[in-house]
């Protein structure tokens, strides 16, 4: 059986880097398929869909809300040709009812241990409209190494430099953060993978640089420390979200190859300033993630926050505007208060205001968001700051013997396209 697995494209934000990372969800899903399913994978962000490629079924994997409309359009086109289309992934779960209108089948929940049944049903002509495993997480031990062999590696390469691979060591989340749906999707308890399984997956990745995409590793200190300890011999270099604010954990993380972390900066307190410093003390870089548009932020608060960011020695900063994704508290609150004015899912990209902020107009919030990007990167561009972090990791790799020179054959390519030398973006790399 031939399955065409598609990851729909989305429109990048103006301030966003043009880097395309190999997507994680599709290859995690592919690892759960029965052996007799022959998969070909297309990431539409880096290549066109070959509409003529023969297949028995199409599976569309969607992570972002900004992907859903494109995913539905792709499905409509295949279904018009008589090819059945299945959907899965995070944003399929968040937009299940709407997605159902464009699907022969939707899969809700985690895929491990469940695809044999789905494909048997498909072969028997009895594909169900909905496979509903919401809230019924399979044992975490079933999560195996992802099918990264499906990537066309040369497409995730910028001028000979391979992009980081995505990886996850846990699922679920015990926090219920205001703008986040992870605890709804993956369960409200933290489900760490057994260390041996997590390490086996890491070892299988033919890339020294990773992005550990777990929501927060700081949810089970003992497990977190055990994981880092076992990672040390692998000499990987990695990016992640928050790490436990504890000297022992930070020390182990640094030894395990922590390159830089995403750290939420939500106020101008000394705690945040010290938190950033503590990461730096262990040689770990910090990319601040700053969310604008919360109800406790006035214009002055946002301006003060931007000033603060310039003083706390962040290596990078990423600004976002609150987007009320379904199944978040933000969505519930704004819905009840009648403040959501834009229901076009293409606009839920965390760079566009789709609701009425409490203390300012939508236009003013948009201006402040754009001002923040400009102000933070005024003296040193995003590319220059990224290059510093990149240099940092190269030096560490040279020290421990894991450095791989860039692939000269791809020096004139960026994500599968010829490099346009007239553009200044990322020429430093």
């Amino acid at each position: 059986m031939k399955l065409k697995l598609i990851y729909p494209k989305w429109k990048k934000l103006p301030g966003q880097t043009t880097f395309n990372l190999p997507p994680h969800g599709p290859v995690v899903f592919a690892a759960t398929l029965p052996e007799y399913v022959d998969v070909s994978f297309t990431d539409e962000n880096v290549e066109e869909i070959d509409w003529d490629e023969e297949c028995d079924v199409v599976a569309i994997s969607m992570m972002l809300t900004t992907q859903v409309k494109r995913g539905w359009a792709i499905a409509d086109k295949y279904r018009a040709k008589g090819i059945p289309v299945m959907f899965g992934g995070i944003s399929t779960m968040l937009h299940a009812e709407e997605t159902l209108q464009h699907a022969d089948s939707i899969f809700l929940g985690e895929a491990e241990g469940r695809q044999e049944q789905v494909f048997q049903d498909l072969q028997n002509g009895q594909l169900k409209k909905v496979y509903n495993y919401m809230g019924k997480q399979p044992p975490i031990e079933l999560v195996g190494p992802a099918r990264r062999d499906l990537y066309k590696r040369e497409l995730y390469n910028h001028k000979g430099v391979q992009m980081v691979d995505l990886y996850h060591a846990s699922r679920g989340c015990r926090f219920s953060c205001y703008p986040c749906a992870v605890s709804y999707l993956g369960g409200r308890c933290f489900r760490p993978r057994p260390i041996d399984k997590a390490i086996a997956d890491l070892e299988s990745i033919d890339n020294n640089r990773l992005f550990i995409v777990d929501n927060s590793l700081a949810q089970n200190k003992q497990w977190e420390m055990d994981l880092f300890r076992e990672m040390i011999p692998l000499k990987k270099k990695w990016i992640s979200h928050t790490i436990e604010d504890d000297p022992q954990v930070l020390d182990l993380a640094a030894q395990a190859g922590a390159w830089y972390v995403y750290q939420a900066v939500y106020d101008t307190s000394d705690y945040i300033k010290e938190r950033v410093k503590r990461y730096h003390d262990y040689g770990i870089g910090v990319e601040g993630t700053i969310l604008f548009g919360l109800d406790n932020q006035t214009e002055d608060d946002i301006l003060r926050l931007i000033d603060f960011l310039l003083k706390i020695d962040l290596d990078l900063a990423e600004f976002t505007i609150l987007a009320p994704f379904p199944h978040t508290k933000a969505y519930d609150d704004l819905l009840r208060q009648g403040r959501i004015f834009d229901k076009d899912w293409d606009h839920y990209n965390a760079g566009q205001v789709v609701y009425q902020p409490k203390h300012m107009s939508p236009e003013r919030l948009q201006e402040l968001y754009e001002y923040a990007w400009k102000a933070f990167y005024q003296d040193e561009t995003q590319e220059e700051k990224m290059f510093k972090l990149f240099t940092n990791v190269m030096l560490r790799e040279m020290e421990d013997g894991t450095y791989r020179p860039r692939n000269r054959k791809l020096a004139n390519k960026t994500f599968g396209q010829d490099v346009d030398r007239s553009k200044s973006h990322f020429n430093a790399f």
């Binding site: 909905v130 809230g135 508290k329 519930d332």
Partner: protein, 119 residues
């Protein structure tokens, strides 16, 4: 972010979206032949769909489970104070009206109205 028990008399288990096992706090106050049904979001203690997302489905499940007459029910969603630093976790109450084929309508109740209901 535990929700204080003062907000509810019982935990009501319900079928959330896609039949997800879900839970909310429930308090029913009967006054002058009217049943005030107050549902409270439990956050971490709710494994499934939020009370706001469950909306009319939750309302109907409570009416049926408790044998209430819909015409006598005033349905209220409570956003409990969880002692969070974030102001939007402050206590709020909304009266919810369900109209066929339309999105639910929400009206925030002021302190006096809440005091009158809670007695």
């Amino acid at each position: 972010m535990k929700v204080p028990e003062k907000y509810y008399d019982e935990v009501f288990n319900f079928a959330g979206q896609w039949d997800m096992p879900s839970a909310c706090g429930l308090k029913i106050i009967i006054k002058n032949d009217k049943s005030y049904v107050i549902v409270t979001e439990l956050y971490q203690e709710n494994p499934g769909t939020s009370v706001t997302y469950a909306a009319e489905s939750l309302y109907r499940q409570i009416i049926e489970a408790k044998g209430l007459k819909a015409e006598n029910v005033c349905y209220i969603e409570c956003n409990p104070d969880t002692n969070s630093k974030l102001s939007f976790y402050d206590e709020e109450y909304f009266e919810v009206t369900f109209v066929p084929d339309e999105a639910p309508k929400y009206r925030q109740l002021d302190h006096t109205e809440i005091r009158n209901i809670l007695g």
